[in-house]
Every structure is written in C-alpha cells, then in structure tokens.
Symmetry: C2
Subunit: 508 residues, 2 copies
Amino acid sequence: MITGKNYIGNQLSAKGTTTHKTINPQLNEENPTPFFQATLEEVDQAVELADKAFKTYRKVSGAKRAAFLNAIADEILALDNELIRMYVSESGLPEGRAMGERGRTVGQLRAFADLISSEDWRNRTIDEAIPNREPLPKSDIRKTSIPLGPVVVFAASNFPLAFSTAGGDTASALASGCPVIVKSHAMHSGTGELVASAIIKAAEKTGMPNGVFSNITGSGRVVGTALVKHPKVKAVGFTGSIAGGRALYNLAAQREEPIPVFAEMGSINPVVIMPNVLAKKAEETASTYAGSITLGTGQFCTNPGLILTIDGENTTTFISDLAQKTIDIAPQCMLHPNIKEGYESNGEIVASQKGVEVVKQIEGEIGENYAASKICAVSGEDFLANPKMHTEVFGPFSLVVKAKDQQELIQVIDSLEGQLTGTVLAEKEDFEDLHNVVDSLQAKVGRIIFNGVPTGVEVCESMTHGGPYPASTDSRFTAVGVGSIKRWVRPFSYQDWPFELLPEELKS
Amino acid sequence: MITGKNYIGNQLSAKGTTTHKTINPQLNEENPTPFFQATLEEVDQAVELADKAFKTYRKVSGAKRAAFLNAIADEILALDNELIRMYVSESGLPEGRAMGERGRTVGQLRAFADLISSEDWRNRTIDEAIPNREPLPKSDIRKTSIPLGPVVVFAASNFPLAFSTAGGDTASALASGCPVIVKSHAMHSGTGELVASAIIKAAEKTGMPNGVFSNITGSGRVVGTALVKHPKVKAVGFTGSIAGGRALYNLAAQREEPIPVFAEMGSINPVVIMPNVLAKKAEETASTYAGSITLGTGQFCTNPGLILTIDGENTTTFISDLAQKTIDIAPQCMLHPNIKEGYESNGEIVASQKGVEVVKQIEGEIGENYAASKICAVSGEDFLANPKMHTEVFGPFSLVVKAKDQQELIQVIDSLEGQLTGTVLAEKEDFEDLHNVVDSLQAKVGRIIFNGVPTGVEVCESMTHGGPYPASTDSRFTAVGVGSIKRWVRPFSYQDWPFELLPEELKS
C-alpha cells in the first residue's frame, strides 16, 4: 500500500504540502499517487533519529545485523508482484528486468549478510606488546574498523532497486553499522516507498533501533542539500550524473566538518578494437556490441559510448555493420521523459561537432519516450581537437573513433577523463602491440575487460566499480561488491586495552 | 654540502631570486645558507617530470622499489653527523632526539621495503570464472591495487626527519609506486636538502627514473598552492596546522578534478582520569603526565592538551601536583620563534577565558625561544560554555577540566571535535562506569590508550594515526604504519584478462 509519505524512522510522515507524481513512460502519463516532499523539519528529525540510532546500532553484533539484512531481502521478496508492477509502471522497463534487478538486490543484501557474519571484513590486526624492547617497551596495539555514523544515500534513476532504496550503498552502509537515510529518487518514489516499507518491517522484526533507516522524498535540490549539510551526517553515497554528484561533493567539502562523498558518476567506457579483430571477426563483434549498446536502452553507467579503432580496410564496413545491427534492435522505452530529452540533446551535441558523421539512426515513428539508437563516427584527429565529443550520451548511442594509427589511438585514450571501465578486443596477433594501449587505458579506468563488453557489473569481491574522476569522486573505493563496505568505516586502534574490555573481534 | 637549491628530479635548480634562511632557535640567529624559493616554472617542471617518471615507476617491481627505499635509508645514515648537526641547528632539538628520529625515519623506510617485497599489501582477490552459471556465465575477475600518480608531500615542522622529506608520507607513497614531490618545510630547508640529496643518490644508484623524487623550496603559500592545483598531481599528504591542512584540502576540492588530501592536523588528545586513579596513584600519574606534556617541548600532535577529571577530594591536589611537576622540568627550546609566539598567544587565549585558572607556570627568565610550561584548570560547566577552550596550544601546556560528575564529563567529551587519540586512566573499580566514557571517546578519536600516555606513536601495522575531522581530513586512513600506503592506491580489476598479460601478482 502506497501512502506517498516519508519514513522518518519507523513513522510515516507528511508534514509538507509540496507533492509530485511519478510518470509511466510507456503510457506517457502520471501515476496516481502524490508523494509528499519532506520538510526541513522532517529532514532534521530523520538525521537526529539516525544519530541516536547509531549509538546502539554500531554495537549490534554482526550476526544480528546480518539477520536484519536477510530480513530486508525476505520482505522485498514478500512484496512480490506489487513491487514488480510498481517498478514497471515507474521505469518503463520490462518485467523481466524488474525481476532480474530484484534478484540482484536481494543477492547483494545476502552477500553483505554473509560478509558480516564473520568479523574478517574489519581488516583486524594485532601487534602484541614487547615489554622488554629497548630503548622503549612496545605497547599492545590492536586495530579494527568501526562505522562512520549516519550515511545519506541518493537513489539512482537507472536501477530503481539495485542502486536505490535497498541497493548496494544502503546494504553496505547498514552492513558496516551505519544508519541510512535514503533520499528517494523522484522518478520512482512508489518503488522507493515499497522497498522502504520492507526495510522498516525488517528493522522492526529484528529489533533494530528506530532511526536505523529513513526514506525521504524530494523532487528538487532542497532536501538533498539539507541532508548533505546536516552536521550529524557523516558520509554520502550517490549514483547519477556528473553535475549532480559534483554538486553534492562540493557541498560536503564546504562543510565546517568535510565528509566523504562517494559519487559514481559519468563514464563513456572506451572500447579499443585492435586491427586483427576487425580482420577476423568484425561481424560477430558488431552483433555483440549492438547488443551491449542497446542493453537496458543504453541506460547503464557502463554502456560502451566510445569505440576506438585504427582506420583500415575493415573499419568502414565494421562501423556500418555495427550501426545497422544497432538500429535493427527494436527501440525501447526510456526511464522518463527527462532522460529521453537528455539523450536527444546530448546526442545532438556530439553529432553536430565538426567531422562527426551520423552513420545510422532510427528514423520514422517510435513510441513517445522511446529512444532512437544512433551510431556516429569521427576521425582521430577531429576527436582530439574537440573535447565536446567526450560528452556522455546516456542511452543507446556510441561514437566510433577512427584513429589513423596506434599512436593516435593512444593519444585519444590519453585525452580522456576518468572512466569506470575500459575494454580491449584483441586477437593473439595483436598482443605485442597491446602494452602501450593497456598502460594508457589503465591510467584512466577502474576495470579493464578483455574480449567482452563493459555492461554487466558482477557483484563479487574482485569487482571495482569506480575510477578516476569523473567516473567517481574517490577512485580509492568501489561502489559494487562487498569491498564497497570500506567506504563507510574507519580504522580504530586500541592500545594496551584491558582484555575484557576489547571488542570480541580483537580478543584473539 | 648544502647548495640552497631545489631538486627538480635529479637536477639542482635555482631559477628564482627569492631566498630565505633558516633559524637556529637556540642561538636565535639565522643559519648561513640562503635557500632559493622555486619558481612556478620549476614547480611545473618537477610535476611534469614526476608524471613522466610515473609511467615507468608504476611498473617497477616490488623488489626494486624495496631496494630503492633501503638505499634511501642507507644514504640517510651515510650523511652521518652532517645531518645531525644540521637538524640540531635548524630545530633547537637535542642531538639525542635527532638520532632517535633518524632511527625512526630509517626504520619506516625499511618497514615499507619489507612490506612491498611481497605483493600481499595489494589486497589481491581472485574470483574465478563460472562459465556454465545460469542465467549468465560468470567472468574471471581479479583485483589488485595500483598507484594513483604523482603525490605532493608537505613536510611537517615538528619532525624534521620522520614526518618530513623522507618521512612516512614519502616512504609510503614511493612504496606504492607513486613519484613524490616534497614541498620542503621552510624552517628546516637545510635538513630537507640533505635528505633530498640522499633520496636522489639512492634513486640514481638503484636506477629509478628521473623525476621519481623532487624537493621544492618555498617559504610562503605560492609554491604549495601551485603544486596542489597542478592537474598532474593526484594526491597530497600533509602534517601540520588545521588552517594549513584545511587550505590545501579546499584547494584540492575546488580543482576541476578533485584529488584526495590526507592532512593530519590538530588534536588536543583528551585524557580521562577516572576517580579511583586519583584516589590510588595521583602522584605517579602527575609525574607521568608532567613528562608527557613536556616531551619534545610539547611539540607533538599527540600531546595531552586536555585532561578530564571528575571533581572530588583528590582532584585539587592532583592538579596542583601535576602543575608543580610540569614546571619542575627544565624549560626547553622550541622549534622556531614563530612556534614560540603561537604557543604563547594560544596559551593566552585559553588562559584568559572565563573560569580558567592558571594553576602554575614557569616564571622568570628563560631562554629566548624556550617555552614556559603552563597548566590551567577550569570547571566542566565553564568548559562546556566556551568552545575557545578547545584551542590547541602547541607546546608544553595542558588544561585540566573538573567535571562535577560523570555525566558532565561525558558531555565534555561529546562537545569535542575529532581527535587523534583519547586516553583512559582507570582502576579495576572504575570499569563498570567506563562503558559510556569509552563510547563517547570512540566517536571522537582514532586511537584509544589505556593507562598510558598518548605521546609516542608506534610504527606498526595496527597503528591508527588519524581520526575524525579536524584530527585529519579523512578518518578512513592512517598516516603512520604500513597501512598508510592505502592512501595512495586504488583498486583495479582485470576481467577475463589473458593469463600471460596479467600482472605477476594476479597469476595465482
């Protein structure tokens, strides 16, 4: 049952009068429920409750926090078709995607529950005392990791479940012992409220302190700004645009007490195709990439937006083949009219630059919020002359660069900003030319993929989802995988501490 | 042989005309050598060289980087008495301290050499492929850590060796594979140049690329600002004042590409003395703390500047005893006339606040740059009413707070900003009252010490030297111990990467 209200801890609350509605992009009409934007008083209440909850939550055992996370997963599954229907109605994404993403969300929660069932994640170390060391005795020093405090999570538009209310940021922060206040995404407030209700139910069932979780609605910047500036908030997680993430980073850096912001932002995910691939399997590559470019209507942060080739006898055919195969895939609905608008205007920015050729794009009538796939091409020289071509076109778009030789290809890589991923497609015969390409790529990205596609971010310990700015605001952390818990903790040392007063994990 | 020049990579360089001299605080006169402030052109050259060096240095094997670090240690020792004499002449610190600090510096370099002799420090993980997983196959994903790029290190005034030119920041950054540009401290430019010459010699002997290290002189803000704003600088390390660290943090956060700044800054290091300690061993405690307060003329970031007691029958005697024992210790020379001036003016700020009593201070003639130790006392109520009493008085000073009961004592802790350390002195009989005190303290500090003193920061794996702001700008890292290498690296993942092209550490 959707109420349109905020969760301030366990309580539904709607003290404000400003409301907004979500949009069904398939029908291009508003969904019925009005959602109440939180007032500044409600924001303050949520943070104060979180701060109070932190005093007890940070001492709740790993086993109990794990039970909480597993209960959230159970309650999400219990929402069953109500959640799936809501997701579809607010995102335009198909039911299969909704179910897949729900599986990923539940899987993440359970992975963090597993992680914290033992205390190994805390990077514990023990240096034992050496009382008779000369010239000074050595103390007994033991280190563990402790949670930072209340964390604000900004839900992402493109993953209404897996990077949203109970997504990776929330799961990792709750796992670490930090209370979470979610700033719900205004494009899927209904999905957000349903998931929030599941988290609240799980918190109550497993005896978590009131305030361990709140869900705050706001469609503009007011609520988000107030959350990030609140002195009792200690860290921020965000997934979205460069402009949005940077604005939050700036707010946090300007506080009297600056706080860490992990923002996972823009990326055009360069893909380098080495010459022997085009000689040997151009068609297969074009098919695979047409699929990757259009997957999820191209609305993935790892979408391959930039394809780098060396201009040769097979390049033109490959580009035309890739473009044809891309537009052959039936157009799909985008998340929201605003996303569609951004897709078109950014695509136009790139396409209108000097030297850019629109190889092919879908023409004719398509659904109102549907995306017309588009493949552009440009020479290496023109690309190097114009950084506007680095613009991320969020949707089923890719720009193919034809470098005149490997040296220019490397210059193109060197000219890029930080990226989440880099991909190399190569045959054995290309290996000896590969080192310089890989060296340049490594300096720019957080993950490199060989003979695959960048889309599809596996949730596992070895995943890095993050990269040099502006892929993320702090490349030293990942947003996906159990390692993402490190964003919310700090090392803490006990020196000569009485054994009986040490936390359990350091009594070894 | 001191030249007064900068090291731009392996080359001595003095293109500027602005010079400064260091001061011998014991003699209160200038040392002879003029030091040439780097020009902006020299700053740029140093960074460009570092960026170029990074391309090869990041691929130098751990064994070779370890040899480099060990060679630095050897070359520092080879400077022998020339270094010790220079250190003493620029710091006013005694020869024994110089030798002890040299030992610590050399020990740190060797500890990082040991660390990187194996690749375990990289937090490597391997997720093997599951080709037949349903619905989608799982890729082979392997994660390691890679260096960020050129790091700027600001040398600290209070440790001319161990937190300076070849101190912990430089050692950890070079260990990680990052080139280092040191902004030498203007108060010990001679010591800095000698150590820089040792690093350059070591780099040449072990075949490191030119630019792996530079040493830049500057007495104002111009050079430091230019370094932090340079687009090819990727991280900053700093030890010093809150004002200085925050200024660098702000510069870095305002860059087009923000970069991480790890600044270890101010701390007054609260010490909680529980009632049974004053009942049972007040005199012993007073002696120990008189020693800790005056150690190194109080010029340590872990100096106990705030002592928290519960006012009772033994408190007044303890305070007066502590003050007497403190002033009984012979006054010592401070690092620099500016430090002395800051000690006096900040001490006066605290002493002049409402309710503050100067218990005792050294009266009469002492040496020009010598510090007159001072112990003040104030009620919990007055302390809580006035945040000016949180001012760090860098030197042999401590403010004793007399809380009326344990509740007020906890309020005092809760009112504090972030700190490097918190110390608890307690007897068994105090243990049951301790939980709330420790909970409050934990929220504020990076390390807690039991029945000891905060001064003395062991270089070991379990050390945390850092804490909530303003103790440091990012509490998620430590500045001391081998864990400090994590500040300069980022996770990096290889997906389905050909075995023969993987870095050695991931071929397992």
